[in-house]
Symmetry: C2
Subunit: 245 residues, 2 copies
């Protein structure tokens, strides 16, 4: 165990906890832990390196923002072959909006890693998106473009990017399912319960049944998100029936 730690990471004893938490978050092994420490260091600590350059996440934010932008651009280019340049630009803006990035940073509970000189409870929302971008910058420096892409697919594109919803064609899957059930005179039920398991962050699960049979489940960090996730699954399960009516 100690032997393995020495190979995969030159981390000092004090970094061990951080290293393992980080590995779980990233879903791969970080190599140079210092990049990640920087990604979670707020300038209020006033840290400097040997050359007098400040150590905090602001420069990494710039880098991560650029990497995120190019990876989302390449995803959209391939995913929507009919999308014009204007369409692609607009969709990307929605995906990388400050609001969206703050939500992502919150869901990943990145604030637990942040070292600062202020009360984290009092901080504005933007810190979540900022450290999310800084983390992407650190991944790029540590492991290169492809790991960055993998992280963004796993944490942004797969769980959150939903083209019909971004296009505004569907604003709420829950609303759509309820409306459809009412029109079709079908009984429906949303069963919501807390389901945090062993995780630090509170989670909720939702079961959606139609006419007494379970159609889909969802699980997320808020009731609303879990309901949307489950409803989206119902939508895709019953898409043929829903769209023809």
């Amino acid at each position: 165990m100690n032997f393995i730690r020495k190979i995969v990471s030159p981390a000092k004893k004090e970094d061990e906890g951080f290293y393992y938490e980080l590995k779980k978050l990233l879903n791969f092994s970080p190599k140079k832990i210092n990049y990640y420490k920087k990604a979670f260091t707020h300038r209020s600590l006033k840290l400097k390196d040997k050359k007098g350059n400040p150590i905090n996440y602001e420069r990494l934010e710039f880098l991560g923002d650029a990497m995120l932008g190019s990876i989302i651009a390449s995803y959209l280019y391939k995913k929507v072959p009919k999308g014009t340049e204007g369409y692609l630009t607009q969709m990307r803006s929605k995906i990388v909006s400050r609001e969206h990035l703050n939500e992502l940073g919150k869901d990943l509970d990145l604030i637990q890693f942040v070292k600062s000189n202020f009360d984290k409870e009092l901080v504005g929302n933007n810190i979540y998106g900022n450290i999310f971008e800084a983390l992407i910058g650190a991944i790029y420096l540590d492991r290169g473009f492809n790991y960055c892409k993998k992280f963004i697919y796993e944490n942004v594109i797969i769980p959150y990017v939903d083209i019909p919803k971004l296009e505004g064609k569907i604003t709420s899957y829950k609303g759509l399912i309820i409306e459809w059930c009412q029109k079709q005179k079908k009984q429906y039920n949303f069963e919501v319960y807390e389901d945090s398991g062993n995780e630090n962050v509170k989670h909720f699960s939702v079961k959606v049944s139609i006419e007494g049979s379970l159609v889909a489940k969802g699980r997320a960090t808020s009731k609303k998100k879990a309901e949307e996730q489950a409803s989206k699954r119902v939508y895709f399960a019953l898409q043929d029936e829903i769209t023809k009516t």
Copy 2:
């Protein structure tokens, strides 16, 4: 020869000329020639693929712009460790400015590849930058991020990116050299002559002599650029003397 062509490129006979010109431009072997054909196709041709999606360079422009932005961001991040987030953002804007990209597209003589339904002579300047970006998008799709990076280093960063000049510390190397010579009461001479060789595009060479000895040469597509290049070389050759006075 025919055998090699079949391996490296499934190009049709009619694409052969384009393939070899392109390979010279890229400094590596393109694999899927269709991406590059698209990068040089103007929408005035109104081409469509089997699915009815338009074939022109506009979507590739979006992709190339994003890739260029992220590669320049990573270059600046590493190159200027003291640069704040604001500094890095500003420097990047200067490097990827429309004006700068148009200049790059012109210097690479990309217009020779463009297929369109209009008179190329009458076209606005922006087409040069647009097809330069589209070409970067095509490189990304064909060969991935690292080839893209290599192309941008060879064609943007190494020949054009000059941090002191972008910072506005030095606005003209020629001006700086002349001013220094006058102060130091040294004789100087700029000898400019046309020097296109076998190339399609006109080129100029410049020799800069100080006190009768040749100090540096420059060569570029305009007199002004060749003079700046030569002067910059003089500056770096005599940097110790120039900066101490």
